[in-house]
Amino acid sequence: MLAMNYRGPKRVRIDHKPMPEILHPEDAIVRVTRSCICGSDLHLYNGNVPDTRVGTTFGHEFTGEVVEIGSEVTKVKVGDNVLVPFNIACGKCAFCRQELYGNCHESNSQATAVGAIFGYSHTAGGYDGGQAEYVRVPYANVGPTVIPEGMDLDDAVLLTDVVPTGYQAAEMAGIQPGDTVMVFGAGPVGIMAAKCAWLFGAGRVMIIDHIDYRLEFAKNYAQCEAYNFEEIGDLAVFAKKQTDSLGADVCIDAVGAEAAGNAMQTITGRKLLLQAGSATALHWAINCVKKGGIVSIVGVYGPTDNLVPIGNVLNKGLTIRANQASVKRLLPRLIEHVQNGILNPKELITHRIPLEEVAEGYRLFSAKLDNCIKPVLIPPSVKS
């Protein structure tokens, strides 16, 4: 089968790889119908996630058709069209049973600090991902969800990560009616977080980035204010001026390790890898939020350390909430929102790229070419 093949930092290609096999009674094999490139895939692509082995297939946002199931699979059957949450979760451990599906204790042997994620290095479990024609899906009784009748595949594939992650960012922010919300990062997740902030009753939503086409897109899609940090100067002063000197009620870091905007962070975090990525957005979030406010983190960082003003967290009495999205917990509500037209995820998709051109897709997305917001890979079997 065709599959994306990681060869080293900023080098990927399409290759023939062996078909995945059932390795556990709860496994399913899924024929992929849609697979996205995610902003967090760029951390892998850039070589910033430890234990990313040459030969790995990335891809944690995908939909597909079940073509084979293990002997203990009862919740899906061959022929079902499913969307597959990016977390691999057993559903039985103490954490899954408390709906922390992103923190499963029975799916990632390699690390205890992160649950398992499809195609996201051996630090996240060593599973191949969905940027391929076929993929092995463990714990098929837990993750895969049958796509409701009539739902567009493009909407479904974004329910595997982008929508739940953006929604959980707003949920973790504890937004109360009338709150002023600052979202850092106008990528797909940041845009979705801004959109979802309204669902929790935000009074004002501002999104911050430095890519003009993304800000323009965010302004229209999420009906929010959009600001280019290269034009407004000191962000903390900006936030204070906008809130009568008090600070935003909540701040959301939807950027993570690839943040731009601070030379010291960029050099030490992204170029020299002396920290687990550039923590510029988190730094800003901490300094822009009000005293006693909440900082919600969904931007992904590496497993080592980052330079952030932790003293300000203490002195301002901040609450920091962060997690990988618990996709399965959120899906029922989010499917409802999509079906009722409250959320329109597929409008985020700007590029449909043949799987065979995966290398071009990564370059397009990482270099932000051709006004790319969200690229989706289409396997050849779907096209035909």
Binding site: R7, G8, K10, R11, V12, L23, H24, E26, D27, P50, D51, R53, V54, G55, T56, T57, E72, C90, K92, A94, F95, R97, Q98, E99, H105, E106, S107, N108, S109, Q110, A111, A116, H122, T123, G125, Y127, D128, Y139, E171, I175, Q176, T180, C196, W198, L199, F200, G201, R204, K241, T243, D244, S245, T319, N323, I342, A359, E360, G361, R363, L364
Partner: protein, 169 residues
């Protein structure tokens, strides 16, 4: 005199937004637990575990847990020099730089191993294609040319320096 740059703009015309406030939850303040708390973890690692996946390839596991997880990924088992470094890294916990830094080193070694492996299988890596420069050519020719110019300048500089050194000899 008061600085009039500071305003209290709280938003106003937002209720036209479809779905505004439908998920508002007054209990969702920082003291309200996100998870459905059961305290099950207080009993320890005692839940009924899923069926154990058979181990058919080498899997390195964190020393912060006693066993392999019931299910695990089997892509790209450790091999070669990078595999030796990874095995060494997994003797340290996730709490140690001695775990993560060798893994990053192993990743870089693995890239070289990948190129050697390609050659051994008769494949010459097409760097232009693998780096996705086709997309750059299609959508950002000036950027691509600038990149090529920088590479050419660095190469020319290096050649010049090496040549000059030879001339000095």
């Amino acid at each position: 005199m008061e600085n009039t740059d500071f305003i209290n703009k709280r938003g106003a015309d937002y209720k036209h937004i479809k779905g505004w406030g439908i998920d508002a939850d007054p209990k969702n303040d920082p003291t309200y637990p996100m998870k459905r708390r059961t305290n099950e973890e207080h009993k320890g690692y005692t839940w009924e575990r899923p069926t154990q996946q058979a181990q058919t390839v080498e899997i390195l596991h964190s020393i912060e847990r006693p066993n392999l997880t019931a299910v695990f990924g089997t892509s790209v088992p450790p091999s070669g020099l990078s595999g030796m470094i990874r095995r060494m890294a997994f003797k340290k916990s996730e709490n140690e730089y001695g775990h993560w830094l060798p893994l990053i080193l192993a990743d870089r070694v693995n890239v070289v191993e990948g190129v050697i492996d390609d050659f051994m299988h008769g494949t010459f890596p097409n760097i232009f294609v693998e780096k996705g420069y086709v997309a750059q050519w299609r959508h950002d020719k000036p950027g691509l040319f600038a990149k090529l110019a920088v590479v050419a300048a660095i190469t020319a500089g290096a050649v010049f320096l090496m040549t000059r050194k030879n001339d000095d000899d």
